[in-house]
Symmetry: C2
Subunit: 229 residues, 2 copies
DNA sequence: TCAAAAGTGTTAAAAATACACCCATGG
DNA sequence: CCATGGGTGTATTTTTAACACTTTTGA
């Protein structure tokens, strides 16, 4: 069966830039292509948009299908449409960027049918299509966003130490931050719930755990509060 | 002649939210639809993407064709893909937002073959398709952007008074600003070139004209300078 | 007892805010 | 001469930046 149109149309796809943070680096989730074009190369998870789903839904679906990653922060990034971005035919792709708590997803991605792996943003392999450009755009967006929206927390487990939070900001913004000033500022916002728990299994004094108070943030937001770090 | 594909594909369109500023208000450029669906309703300028152009190019082209607006600030906004956004068939639309100096374009738009007109953002008519949602998204983006990128100048003539600049920020951000503090801050950035000219034909003391120094901005930007107002 | 990171305050500089009057110009 | 907006400075508060030592814990 085929579908006929009066005018020629590009194919429509989605691609997802999934960021995760581990002890060392900010990472991106890639899958290895098992078909041409770019067979064997690493690429962003993605695929074609179906007629019964929005592009948001397509991005979510592809993410689950290809990497097992579900229930994560996912936001539309940019639409890429260079005429030759796919050698087969004209494909316009709506890119998304996602933030996940890497420790939740480390295993899944590695055990999926298709080879999937995390790569440090500072050390990416050659990518298929225009995916390097897409990753660059996503990084730029993440760096801009993290400063005035509380999206960084999506990269951490629900309970985290202030040190983990600071490292996150340092990795994303690529600059060192002063510990005391950072703690002062972040606590002054009143968005962190101080828990009666400390981290486990560390070879030194255990740090207190905190939780991001989403409810409180939404309240403050309504009152015109601007997150800023 | 028709084009056949193995899988069904949505049509791909672009829509442009063109902002202009006049003495009273922030305005949006709309055109009146002369065909169904939504015949007679006001809508955003836009149209279908051709196979030999990127979506950026399509947006530029449609803007010129439908409104005569060319050489303006134009930036991709968001891609809209709700299944029922067009009653005829599935159409995915990449929205753009544009900033123009309204005094340059006031006449052109009005004399074009198709009826085009500027509407205050605070008083829009009922729009075709999901165009109200698109305008809202564009407004949100403009408000966010104007504070940390020098895009506001695109809404002014090349030579402007500080009062005009302040009014721009007040209209876009929807809040009053203190005159002295505003002038201090904006001049302290060192991005305004003070001209040896004053405004003409005003019924009171004429204000000095300034020009935005784009070259200087790009230099500072390279050195890590962040515009902020 | 050592290594590693947790936790904690103060001071100085810079930036943001609040605020009011005289001046120049054209009608 | 009056109405309109142009142009200007200071004091206060708030925010940011710089900076170092003691404590806790597990190995």
């Amino acid at each position: 069966m085929t579908f006929s149109y009066k005018y020629e149309r590009p194919a429509l796809a989605v691609d997802c830039v999934v960021f995760g943070l581990d002890d060392d680096d900010l990472k991106v989730l890639l899958i290895r292509r098992d078909i041409e074009p770019f067979q064997g190369r690493w690429a962003l998870p993605g695929g074609f948009v179906r007629m019964d789903e929005t592009v948001d839904e397509a991005a979510k679906r592809e993410l689950v299908e290809e990497t097992g990653v579900g229930r994560v922060f996912l936001e539309q990034l940019y639409t890429f449409s260079a005429l030759d971005r796919d050698p087969r035919e004209r494909v316009v792709s709506v890119a998304y960027f996602a933030l996940v708590n890497l420790s939740d997803h480390r295993v899944k991605a590695a055990t999926d049918a298709r080879e999937a792996a995390w790569f440090a943003t500072s050390d990416l392999p050659a990518l298929a299509f225009d995916h390097e450009i897409i990753v660059d755009k996503a990084l730029e967006r993440l760096r801009g966003k993290v400063r005035y929206q509380p999206v960084g927390f999506e990269l951490l487990p629900p309970k985290f130490t202030l040190r983990m939070l600071q490292r996150l900001y340092e990795k994303v913004l690529e600059k060192a931050l002063d510990k005391r000033n950072f703690r002062k500022k972040v606590l002054a916002m009143g968005l962190l719930e101080e828990l009666d728990e400390v981290e486990q299994d560390v070879a030194h004094r255990a740090a207190r755990l905190y939780r991001f108070d989403k409810k409180r943030y939404r309240e403050l937001e309504k009152q015109g509060f601007d997150f800023e770090l």
